[in-house]
């Protein structure tokens, strides 16, 4: 196996799917030039017909993907930054998620939406927000986010092959994270809807994803010998792999959810509620969430006030294990 970055793993996934399926195409703004590395150079292999730059108009840009998907194609939409999905949210979330169901299951909408998300770049506001929780709120859309290069490639390929809309952002804080990935052409997917126990432990389960998964793993290592931390990566938020989480809770009886999103109405809240509903008797302590406080993400050096980090995760772990 090779060692490559997460962002290159995403590029390879798109590249391989573009090669094998002529209905797959990429649409976005300035994707040909490659504002982020994962689209850079694709136009040279696939041409501007399949690596499509649009005028700045998210509705029109997303409309290309949505209309083409209704026409039976398999678009990948690159929103650049996750916050930009809000500009065309009624199309990319409400309509896209509901049409298959509402229209009597006549037509699937195989659309992949991706974007850079998250803190760590001190960019503030719409350049630093997460979108997975918002999309998870709306029915009919699968939502996933990779935490490692291996997962990134496998999950992107699974998303492109899925017949449903899939929102699969990637965290800018780990875009250069390196990890082992099978050789090019060594086809594999990481199926959507399957969580991954990234580290086994006995005392507390930490559910964390993406950059926060990496933070959680650091904390787990630090606490080794003192508190045995099991770290679970949900990988997919919708559909969520509840079984893996419950199996872990049967062992640890304690849960910390690290979710880089505003806490109010967040994905962390949803999982916390489901655990309470489905596994009340497994809990030996209240479920704790490490999220962003409901404060706009400030830029500059104030970002650390809101972003989850290893210290906050460790404090939560110690709290539930007290």
């Amino acid at each position: 196996m090779r060692t490559i970055t997460l962002i290159d793993a995403i590029k390879e996934a798109m590249q391989e799917e573009l090669r094998t399926d002529p209905d797959v195409f990429l649409v976005g703004q300035d994707v040909r030039g490659g504002i982020f590395p994962h689209t850079k150079g694709l136009v040279e292999e696939f041409g501007p017909e399949r690596i499509v730059d649009t005028p700045i108009g998210e509705s029109g840009m997303y409309g290309v993907a949505m209309g083409a998907a209704q026409e039976g194609m398999r678009p990948i939409v690159d929103f650049m930054f996750g916050g930009f999905t809000y500009v065309t949210f009624s199309e990319c979330s409400v309509s896209t998620g509901q049409y298959h169901f509402l229209h009597g299951s006549q037509r699937a909408l195989p659309i992949v939406m991706t974007a850079g998300v998250g803190t760590g770049q001190r960019l503030a506001n719409d350049h630093a927000m997460s979108i997975h929780g918002t999309f998870a709120h709306h029915p009919g859309i699968k939502v996933a986010m990779p935490s490692t290069p291996y997962d990134a490639k496998g999950m992107f390929k699974a998303a492109i092959r899925d017949n449903n809309p899939v929102v699969i952002p990637w965290h800018m804080g780990i875009m250069m994270l390196k990890g082992e990935v099978p050789d090019i052409g060594d086809d594999y997917i990481v199926p959507l809807g399957v969580a991954d126990v990234k580290r086994e432990g006995a005392d507390v389960t930490v559910l964390a994803n993406s950059m926060q998964l990496q933070n959680a793993l650091k904390v787990a290592e630090k606490l080794e010998g003192e508190i045995s931390v099991e770290v679970i990566d949900p990988r997919t938020f919708v559909p969520f792999d509840m079984d893996t989480l419950l199996r872990s809770l049967e062992k640890t009886n304690r849960l910390v959810i690290v979710d880089e999103d505003w806490e109010s109405g967040s994905f962390a809240s949803t999982i916390s509620a489901r655990v309470m509903e489905q596994a009340f008797d497994l809990l030996d302590a209240p479920v704790l969430r490490v999220c962003l406080p409901n404060m706009p993400v400030p830029g500059g050096y104030m970002e650390e006030y809101v972003a989850p980090n290893p210290d906050k995760i460790e404090a939560a772990i110690r709290n539930v294990c007290a």
């Binding site: 009886n253 009340f280 008797d281 030996d284 302590a285 007290a322």
Partner: protein, 429 residues
């Protein structure tokens, strides 16, 4: 085919009961008539006899309280059926798991026999300095701790919590289960060395609640005087001389009760109770007899008030015999719920225990309007017909509820009682 076994309703006033101890193992084959369980109500504890023969599945955990008519066990005919029984308990029982233990302990008194005979295992565990109840008395335990306790029939109210804010967590329950019987721990180091702790629960808590309720809800007034019982003792001597013939050695208490009957006949309002918005004056004279009982440990005491009923229709010997049966039943834990009901007046004697001549001020035993408290007599020089003579004088105290009767009838009642004690021939009147 399984047959349900429910918490029996053992008295009109019984709304719920607690299985303090199962006397059979889960799944054991039991014979009809075999003792199944010790059940406590607010007032008393019973050993229940099995109504059926068969394999018996325990449904309710020890220490758990359920409403009457709730299924607490199941009879099945075969071991195969036993194995097939759903181990889930009926939902009705679940509701009590989270009930307020502070309230429970007030309403579900532990009868003395239960305290004596119930193995400490069911009620004993760790009592650590950490409080397990928060403000308002709610038991703080994690969902998991509650489930483990439920599955193992462990009473969480006796488990100390070591989690945040004193929450009982898994490790506390596991420790309690693993360590099994452990004496209530006391602090044995530092400037405040403890000898023992008495859990403020069960009968202790019930007595406290009753006493406070009596003090707070009545207009009680106490008086005391001395009665010359020299004659009374002389008459008793004549009775005791015929003990073999009468079948009992007539006690002073029997004479006291007979004197109460006389006094009540003179002043009926003393034999009464405030019931709702009416004062009810009774023809029946049912005397509540305060009896000291063993407590939860050697430093604790208990108190029960079984009722000797219909004494107005009884002769002295009959009263004495009935009184002795009642006391024996109380001490052996054989009281029935009805034995504790329907008193109309209370007798609380400290004679023989208190120092001679001591006056008491007994606390009213609700709903009775009068409680009479004779104490240890003493030989004293008194003036009789202008001469100083040595007589046996008994201090007698009485507390009455001024809401029910005023000073004038109370004084007349005390005078009538006094007269009868000094001139026991009035008992024949």
């Amino acid at each position: 085919m399984s047959t349900e076994y429910v918490m029996p309703k053992l008295a009109m006033a019984m709304s719920e009961g607690t299985v303090s101890q199962w006397l059979v193992e889960d799944g054991q084959y039991v014979e009809k008539g075999q003792e199944l369980a010790t059940v406590e109500t607010e007032k008393v504890s019973y050993d229940l006899e099995s109504p059926n023969t068969g394999f018996f599945k325990l449904v309710l955990g020890e220490g758990e309280t359920v409403p009457v008519e709730t299924v607490i066990g199941l009879f099945v005919d075969s071991e195969a059926e036993l194995a097939g029984l759903d181990t889930q308990r009926p939902a009705a029982n679940e509701t009590l798991v989270a009930s307020d233990p502070a309230v429970d302990s007030l309403t579900a008194a532990v009868a003395p026999v239960a305290v004596q005979s119930a193995p400490v295992a069911t009620t004993t565990a760790v009592t650590a300095p950490t409080a397990t109840t928060a403000t308002g008395g709610r038991l703080k335990a994690s969902p998991l701790a509650k489930k483990i306790a439920r599955d193992n029939d462990l009473d969480l109210t006796v488990v100390a919590g070591s989690g945040p804010q004193g929450r009982i967590v898994k490790r506390d329950v596991e420790a309690a289960l693993r360590d099994g019987i452990r004496p209530i721990s006391v602090v044995t180091q530092g400037p405040l060395v403890e000898k023992a702790r008495i859990p403020f629960k069960g009968m202790r808590a019930t007595i406290a609640q009753r006493m406070v309720q009596s003090q707070q809800s009545t207009a009680s007034l106490s008086s005391g005087w001395e009665s010359d019982i020299t004659e009374l003792l002389a008459i008793r001597k004549r009775f005791t001389a015929r003990a073999e013939q009468l079948g009992t050695k007539v006690s002073v208490n029997a004479l006291l009760i007979r004197a109460l009957v006389y006094a009540i006949q003179q002043v009926p309002v003393a034999n009464s109770a405030l019931v709702g918005d009416e004062i009810v004056i009774y023809d029946s004279i049912n005397v509540g007899i305060a009896i000291a009982m063993p407590g939860q440990n050697e430093y604790d005491s208990g108190l029960m008030v079984p009722v000797l009923k219909g004494v107005e229709r009884m002769g002295l010997v009959e009263i004495d015999k009935a009184l002795k049966v009642l006391i024996e039943r109380a001490r052996s834990g054989a009281l029935a719920a009805d034995d504790l009901n329907d008193s109309t007046i209370t007798l609380s004697s400290t004679a023989g225990i208190a120092p001679p001549g001591m006056n008491t001020a007994p606390v009213l035993n609700l709903p009775n309007a009068v409680i009479v408290g004779p104490s240890t007599p003493k030989d004293k020089p008194v003036v009789v017909d202008g001469e100083i003579k040595v007589r046996t004088m008994m201090p007698v105290s009485m507390t009455f509820d001024h809401r029910v009767l005023d000073g004038e009838p109370a004084a007349r009642f005390m005078k009538a009682l006094h007269d009868c004690l000094e001139s026991p021939e009035l008992m024949l009147a």
